[in-house]
């Protein structure tokens, strides 16, 4: 329990400071969160949803813990929780899985919450961009909290970007809660472009009302260790979710995506596509469960995980899961792990494209399907460029950083 102890001791020491800087609704959740975290501790690999993560090792280093409220000018429709509407504030910690100790740790230590609140019938023209830049000389842990509320028929695109601009170790523990009312549309894009010393734990919880559409794309372009969790509850008939992701990992990078799509009512659709390109000694994991509850008839669901291991030492663990308790549904799930296509490589080389470039083109081609599925054209174009740069080793990481060369 040593890893836990440092967080518990820290919390006890600074809880008054946190309470002062924070808001009422966040403070009222802290003691319960402490209790959950203290009793459960960090999840061990025997816990199904943490099978592929090395939680204790990831949280053990001695990080300084950032207790800074949100700063900088906020985009339209964005508020610090203290300035959000009373209704928005009541939704804090209502969608997240409060029994999860990683979430509990976040609830215990988060100082502020970014609330994105799109009012009824409002269509937000420009994407809302949330930039998280990790910087500083000290090894730092950041607890980040975001609450997105889409009122009836509201529409928005939200882009969350994680970057790191200094060479310190960073640990991010992010919790995102999304409440989607009837007929709302949200596209949420997350891109990680950090560095080898960054660890990211992200937990995204979504609750969807009738005829709502949620489109999630999660891109891990550069990282150290990453564990992304996505839980979507389809609670209103006619709702639809697309959960896509792609991962480019090499060196000793580790990326774990763990998803749950919970069909609670009839006539909903879900579509899931995750693609990984792993090189060197990278380790990837994907575990995705589609749960079709009793009575959730006419569910249409498709889950695909496809992976490319470019070396023999790259490892992929894949676990697509379907659990169905209804008898009139159309569901499919599958996964593949393959190597570079030698025939395609040779074909390209015969045309004069050198081996390195040919491999690069094939890797980019493999994940292009995920990028192409992005509805936002400007982002799609930017990501094609980013993917190309990433594969060429030209992605700007921390300035002057030699870590990732």
């Amino acid at each position: 329990m040593n890893a836990e102890k440092q967080y518990i001791d820290f919390y006890k020491e600074v809880k008054d400071t946190i309470a002062e800087r924070s808001s009422q609704e966040m403070n009222t959740c802290r003691e319960a969160a402490l209790h959950t975290f203290a009793t459960q501790g960090f999840p061990l690999p025997k816990v199904e949803r943490y099978r592929y993560a090395k939680v204790e090792a990831d949280f053990s280093p001695d990080y300084g813990i950032a207790l800074t409220p949100i700063n900088g000018p906020l985009p339209p429709h964005c508020f610090r929780i203290a300035e959000a509407t009373p209704y928005a504030r009541t939704l804090y910690n209502k969608v997240a899985d409060t029994s999860d100790s990683i979430v509990a740790l976040n609830t215990m230590l988060s100082v502020d919450t970014l609330v994105v609140h799109v009012p009824k019938g409002t269509r937000v023209e420009h994407p809302i961009q949330i930039n998280n830049t990790l910087k500083g000389e000290q090894d730092t842990m950041v607890c980040r909290r975001i609450l997105i509320i889409m009122e009836e028929l509201a529409q928005a695109d939200v882009i969350i970007t994680d970057r790191a601009t200094s060479q310190s170790r960073f640990l991010t523990n992010q919790v995102v809660e999304v409440v989607m009312h009837d007929g709302s549309h949200l596209s949420l894009y997350e891109t990680e472009e950090t560095h080898l010393l960054c660890t990211r734990y992200s937990s995204v919880f979504v609750r969807q009302g009738r005829n709502s559409t949620f489109h999630h794309t999660n891109l891990t372009l550069f990282n150290g260790h990453t564990r992304n969790r996505l839980d979507v509850q389809l609670q209103g008939e006619g709702s639809e979710v697309t959960a896509n992701g792609c991962v480019i990992a090499d060196k000793m990078q580790r990326v774990d995506n763990n998803t749950l799509i919970d069909h609670q009512v009839p006539n909903c659709r879900s579509n899931e596509l995750y693609k990984y390109v792993l090189d060197d000694n990278a380790v990837g994991a994907f575990a995705g469960k589609i749960l079709v509850r009793e009575g959730a008839q006419k569910t249409v669901s498709k889950e695909t995980n496809a992976n490319l291991c470019a070396t023999r030492s790259a490892r992929m663990y894949t676990q697509p899961m379907l659990e169905i308790y209804a008898d009139d549904v159309k569901c499919s799930h599958g996964s593949t792990v393959g190597q570079m296509d030698d025939a395609a490589l040779f074909y390209m080389r015969q045309r004069g494209i050198d081996e390195k470039e040919a491999r690069l083109l094939l890797k980019a081609a493999f994940i292009t399907e995920v990028i192409e599925s992005i509805p936002l054209e400007s982002l799609r174009d930017r990501l094609h460029v980013l993917v190309d740069k990433r594969l060429r080793g030209e992605l700007s990481k921390c300035e002057g950083c030699k870590l990732c060369q």
């Binding site: 296509d341 025939a343 395609a344 040779f346 074909y347 390209m348 080389r349 015969q350 045309r351 004069g352 494209i353 050198d354 081996e355 470039e357 083109l361 094939l362 980019a364 081609a365 493999f366 292009t368 399907e369």
Partner: protein, 250 residues
């Protein structure tokens, strides 16, 4: 242009080519005929440097240069082009990106700057029209969802873009109907410069009606057992290969 001396090559330890001698001069068209499994495709793969094959003996020189130490891409830059028997589909790689990468790699090898985007697209358009390749196809992924005929036409299109000096057509006629065959062959003839040489690998006379060879070789069991003029191809069409086997005592 191309000189092959006593070439022995094997795959997975099994010897396929057992001493090939072949001399292709500038502007000549050579046909290589033979039964399935004789080593025809192995010969073309070895010339372009397929990594699965091992050359155990002999030499290949191209314009006086020993090409055996060269990588496949370097041999391509030297001017050797293989029209594949079964062109590979490469989902996700667009024809435009593929051709641009190939063309600029060659220009780099020759010490030239990359071709500007506008000029490149104009060149694509010109060459595409020359081989009557549908513009829809060049906006797709490489060979993805192409019919057999479209794939072969695409090979000739790529040849037009890269302007090689030695073209190897590996069973370009297989899987083609007569009309498609004619279009592909005519495309090839239109593109060909007087000094361009070709090795045409085929089972049948049919393709040779359109692409007229100067010299015909018969490949049996990894060796060239007979070499003659174009009349040999017609004789094979009429009589098969057995009489040749008898003649050389196989």
């Amino acid at each position: 242009m191309l000189q092959i001396n006593n070439l022995h090559a094997s795959i997975n330890g099994k010897e396929i080519l057992k001493g090939i001698n072949l001399n292709v001069r500038d502007g000549e068209i050579h046909a290589v005929m033979g039964l399935n499994g004789a080593g025809k495709s192995t010969l073309s793969n070895v010339i372009v440097g397929h990594p699965a094959y091992e050359v155990t003996q002999g030499s290949i020189t191209f314009n006086g240069k020993d090409i055996l130490p060269l990588k496949p891409e370097e041999r391509a830059h030297e001017g050797i082009f293989l029209s594949f028997q079964q062109p590979t589909e490469i989902p996700g790689v667009s024809m435009v990106n593929f051709m641009r990468a190939a063309l600029n790699a060659k220009r780099k090898y020759q010490g030239q700057e990359p071709m500007p985007a506008g000029a490149f697209l104009k060149l694509m358009r010109e060459k595409r029209q020359l081989v009557e390749l549908d513009s829809k196809l060049t906006s797709r992924s490489v060979n993805e969802g192409f019919s057999g005929g479209e794939k072969k036409r695409n090979e000739i299109f790529q040849m037009a873009m890269l302007e090689p000096t030695l073209c190897i057509l590996d069973e370009t006629d297989s899987g083609l109907d007569v009309d498609a065959l004619r279009v592909v062959a005519e495309g090839f003839n239109k593109l060909r410069k007087p000094e361009t040489s070709a090795i045409v690998i085929t089972h049948y006379q049919r393709l040779l009606d359109y692409i007229k060879p100067d010299i015909v070789h018969v490949l049996i069991d990894g060796r060239i057992v007979k070499t003659a003029g174009p009349e040999l191809a017609i004789e094979i069409e009429n009589r098969g290969f057995d009489w040749i086997k008898e003649e050389v005592g196989l």
